[in-house]
């Protein structure tokens, strides 16, 4: 745990709390964009540059635009209060969720351990050894995404297409114009 990691993780949790607690929806969306940017930096720290690029373009970019379009088409409720009133039931349920997840913490391998199950898995070793001469791509993530698991990526494209068609069905032409 380096100081940089500690600062970025603290920023991410702080931005998530701001997103949850700010009453103004526009302020919450801006906090969420900052949160996505922080998460993109976390992906870089964890050596996942492909995920970081996607998060910065899609999470901080496209998603924020979608939220802004939604409040432009609907309403941004005005309020005097800066923060939301915390609902005790929801707080209890989510605290219970965090506590239940927390009990599993000591059973998990330390982050970054080279003996962790994912790092020592035969699947990981196979992809890293064979990705270049089987798929001809030097980025192992691309090789898995587009070659080994190409049909899954086709399925992903089908989901995106279905989502787009669903959106066109839900919104009539009046809203899109």
């Amino acid at each position: 745990m380096t100081p940089v990691e500690a600062v970025v993780l603290a920023f991410v949790v702080g931005a998530a709390l701001a997103t949850a607690l700010l009453r103004d929806v526009l302020a919450s969306i801006i906090a969420f964009a900052a949160y996505s940017l922080g998460v993109a930096v976390v992906w870089l720290l964890l050596r996942a540059p492909d995920v970081g690029l996607t998060e910065a373009a899609v999470g901080a970019g496209v998603t924020t635009v979608l939220f802004l379009l939604t409040i432009a088409k609907t309403v941004r409720p005005a309020s005097e209060d800066l923060f939301v009133d915390v609902d005790p039931t929801a707080l209890g349920v989510s605290a219970l969720l965090v506590a239940a997840l927390g009990t599993t913490l000591s059973a998990l391998p330390p982050v970054g351990s080279s003996s962790a199950p994912v790092a020592t898995s035969r699947v990981t070793a196979y992809y890293l050894e064979n990705a270049y001469h089987e798929a001809g791509v030097k980025n192992a993530v691309t090789a898995v995404l587009a070659a080994y698991r190409g049909f899954d990526t086709l399925g992903e494209a089908v989901v995106v297409f279905a989502g787009f068609v669903g959106l066109l069905v839900v919104l009539d032409r009046g809203v899109l114009a």
Binding site: M1, V13, A16, L17, T19, A20, V25, I29, F32, V39, V42, R47, A48, P49, D50, V51, T54, G59, T63, L66, F67, T70, T74, V75, P77, V84, V86, D87, T89, A90, L91, V93, S94, L101, G102, L105, S106, P109, V111, S114, A116, V118, A119, T124, L128, A131, K138, N139, A140, V141, V144, R149, D152, E156, V159, V160, G163, G166, V170, V175
Partner: protein, 118 residues
């Protein structure tokens, strides 16, 4: 005890994000903020998986770099999940725009009231 938590700080943050996202989904009355909460919840899951792929001192899974490498498979899963998540968000927000057109409000409790009055 402290070491157990510090070694697994990424998992702790992932759990906290799941809690914050769940709280927004359940507790916030504004429908747009519920969808933002769903996105926060998703990133909590992403953080858990990407952190489990990390190996200290290893390079990104680009085979031009010197090894050892972190595992590429969770990265692929999360790339797919991010794109699917955006489709989900887009459809949810489209439904919210329609709900606002029909009911004239974005508050989940008021939408229920309008429905019950009919």
């Amino acid at each position: 005890m402290i070491d157990v938590v510090l070694d697994r700080a990424y998992f702790v943050v992932a759990f906290l994000l799941l809690g914050i996202g769940a709280h927004m989904l359940i507790g916030d009355r504004n429908l747009v903020k519920k969808v933002i909460g769903m996105n926060v919840f998703q990133t909590g899951i992403f953080l858990f998986l990407i952190a489990s792929a990390y190996v200290a001192g290893a390079s990104a899974p680009l085979l031009t770099e010197p090894g050892p490498y972190v595992s590429p498979l969770p990265h692929v899963l999360i790339l797919t999940a991010i794109v699917v998540g955006v489709s989900l968000t887009a459809v949810a927000l489209g439904l919210i725009v329609r709900i606002y057109g029909e009911y004239g409000t974005l508050r989940a409790d008021l939408v229920g009231e309008v429905d019950g009055g009919e």
